[in-house]
């Protein structure tokens, strides 16, 4: 794998450029947003002097390029913030300080990210097992009753919004049957067992919807590979149906599954807002929505960069997996 180092280097460089461009766009968009940021930050009952002071303190009157320059400075060499009475230093890489709470953005991310990752990675396992499994099964049993039922169920799954599934699950499992307490986020490091139990319902409700898409994709890809010539070869050599489907057909159907998974994982890190809100999980998505509402620019930029980073990372991982699954693929 002599090209592997080069591949990683090119990918890392690509990621840096992507994230840089994303941060510029976010700055421009938020700069152009109508509404008085200082007024919103200070609160509705602030006097004009107080609003003015806030604006000065947060450098809101500076021109766009200067504010972006400060942001870059913070990122590479650190930055000092005045809190009115004292000066607080934020070491590089510094994503800035929340207008609202005054907390450092990096600290906010550090508390929110584990929640989002717990939710997304756990749900990923569930949707892969459920989705790919269902897809393989329905491709294999094509035309029979069991396949038709599975197809109907996955179609219903795609069409149901997450809050419906989540609410139903909560009402039935936690309310009626009382099998689980209503979910409440517990840190993995505090209590792994409680962490898993409490995340079970969020995992299921996020995964059920995604699984439907995976099932349909896997089914289509499997049917395509099952019609290929090399499948006929192994059947004609007396290889059992289980090995033909499980080993030869599934392997050929994995590529699109890998691609879709990369997309879903990447975007779900910041995009599972509904699930987070419904189950009261303090994740990235919820925080981002809140920050956008109050025009808390440093938090928005920080969150967007984190999400962008995970999208790029997930796609790079997918490319490596492609090459592992299919030796004809050259990483470049």
């Amino acid at each position: 794998m002599s090209g592997f180092g080069g591949f990683l280097l090119r990918r890392a460089l690509g990621a840096v450029i992507t994230l840089f461009v994303v941060s510029v766009i976010v700055y421009v968009v938020f700069y152009a947003t109508p509404g008085d940021v200082a007024q919103i930050t200070c609160g509705p009952r602030c006097s004009p002097e107080q609003v003015h002071q806030v604006a000065r303190q947060l450098n809101l009157d500076d021109p766009l390029h200067l504010r972006y320059w400060h942001f870059l400075q913070g990122l590479f060499i650190g930055q000092d913030f005045s809190t009115g009475t004292s000066v607080e230093h934020c070491t590089a890489p510094c994503l800035g300080q929340s207008y609202q709470s005054g907390r450092q953005v990096l600290d906010i991310i550090a508390t929110k990210l584990p929640v989002s990752l717990s939710l997304v990675l756990g749900a990923m396992v569930v949707w892969l097992v459920l989705g790919v499994g269902t897809g393989v099964l329905s491709a294999w049993r094509r035309g029979r009753l069991s396949e038709r039922v599975l197809t109907a169920v996955t179609l219903a799954g795609t069409a149901t919004p997450v809050f419906v599934i989540g609410l139903v699950l909560m009402i039935v499992v936690c309310g009626e049957l009382q099998l689980l307490p209503f979910p409440q986020y517990v840190n993995l490091t505090d209590d792994p067992e409680q962490w898993a139990w409490n995340l079970l319902l969020p995992w299921l409700s996020l995964a059920l919807i995604e699984a439907a898409a995976f099932a349909r994709l896997t089914r289509a890809a499997m049917l395509e590979t099952l019609a290929e010539d090399h499948i006929r070869t192994f059947r004609a050599y007396g290889v059992g149906e289980r090995a033909v489907v499980g080993r030869h057909a599934l392997r050929g159907a994995l590529a699109p599954v890998i691609a879709l998974n990369a997309n879903n994982v990447g975007s779900a890190v910041g995009g599972a807002v509904l699930t987070e809100t419904l189950f009261g999980l303090p994740g990235i998505g919820q925080e981002l929505v809140h920050a956008v509402k109050v025009v808390d620019l440093p938090v928005v930029v920080g969150m967007v960069l984190v999400i962008g980073f995970f999208v790029v990372l997930a796609n790079a991982v997918a490319d490596v997996l492609y090459a592992v699954a299919d030796r004809r693929v050259v990483l470049a």
């Binding site: 070869t233 050599y237 007396g238 392997r251 030796r327």
Partner: protein, 531 residues
Amino acid sequence: MSLVEVTDLSVGFGSLRAVDGLSFTLAEGAALALVGESGSGKSTVAGALLGLHRGTGARVTGSVRVAGTDVRHASDEELRRLRGARAAMVFQDPLSSLDPYYAVGDQIAEVHRVHTRVSRRAARARAVEVLDRVGIPDAARRARSRPHEFSGGMRQRALIAMALACGPDLLIADEPTTALDVTVQAQILDLLHTLREETGMGLLLVTHDVGVAAESVDDVLVMRHGRAVEYGPAGSVLAAPAQAYTRELLDAVPRVDARRTGSPAAAGEVVLEATGVRREFGRGKRRFAAVDDVSLTVRRGETLGVVGESGSGKTTLGRMLVGLLEPTAGGIRYAGRPHTGVDPAVQMVFQDPVSSLNPRRGVGESIADPLRAGGERDEQRIRERVTGLLERVGLDRAHYDRYPHEFSGGQRQRIGIARALAAEPRVIVCDEPVSALDVTTQAQVVALLGELQRELGLALVFIAHDLAVVRQVSDRVAVMRRGRLVEYGPADEVYDSPREAYTRQLLAAVPALDPELAARRRAARGEPAAV
């Protein structure tokens, strides 16, 4: 007891009867060829021997016994034990018949382990052994390669190795050499012959190529529309066919040793001229010249044949002549002036009539394209001209609004020719125009090209890998190898007294229609070398 006994076999798909009341037997260790054109049902018979139609909705009647197993009534488990172990199949397309994701050796080992309870290690060793036997060099290392790392000939050898893995009594080979070059084809046929002598297994060969059958089998069964036309020893069926259809089929086969019939064209002035053309592809270390220093001329009213094996650069040369590719060096002149970019006067007919027509447009519209490109706007005149062209190439004017999938391969190629004619060209470059067609259809298309040439005074460049077809149509021939012109001269001179060793080697690899001559040639070629 016979190895294969087929009695009154019929196979139907929907309303189509692919095989209709076919009976034949194959003795232990004997070899039989099923010969027929596409759609004759020969591959369906091959599949029926292994019960491959089970569960596909095909209706199979009659009796099929293979190596003591009643294929129609056997349980799934009995059928599974027959497949691969007693009767093994070599498929037509070696590119797609192996799983691209696994090493070749592992795939052979997997098949071996299905039928024998040996360890993974022993199965791998067996895979290396059979790969070595079929002539894969450095088999132990190459067993770890994936199919895409093999050449076409090596893939076909690997498929034969897979068939050998369990030591079957019967080898079913479905068009095993159709996708291969003529020299590689000869090697594969020689290999099958040697293996049969060594192991004593029976061979059922399915082919559209009478020459391939003559090279390889004892008996021939000629099929048409799912029925047997003629069945008997290869020598007598091919030398003295009793049925009219067999004679027709044999007559349509182009002979490499027969001079061109019909008057040689009175060659006019030079219309197309290539001087020292070279075309490179790739960059840096991967840079290579697909065509290197080729000079030739094409005269009005004559046919220049270009032959070569795959990778010899003949298609690249053809595309440069038409102006679809720019030469890296050297120049192309049309009618005395430099020829850059495409010119309506130089048209092309492509190899694959399926993929070179837009499946979502009526064929009339496709033929009209060159007219519209030439600035014609009058719909009435376009339609008249196109229907005229359709009739000129032997199709019906009512075909204007039909779609490509409604036509047979030969008809599609006629559509391709009509499209090339639409621009009123003076030169047509035909890239493998008949290689996807059956021999009888091939003969018709070749005849059509000849007619058009005489009538319109066209200059033709006929690119093909089939030496016999090229001889049949060409006044002069250019033999290409690795991008260079190996031999270039009048067709009869090149074929009857070739100057270059490579040309002689190519000619010696062409299958002979006479089984005795084939046997003599095989002895002269000796033990196959790896490709």
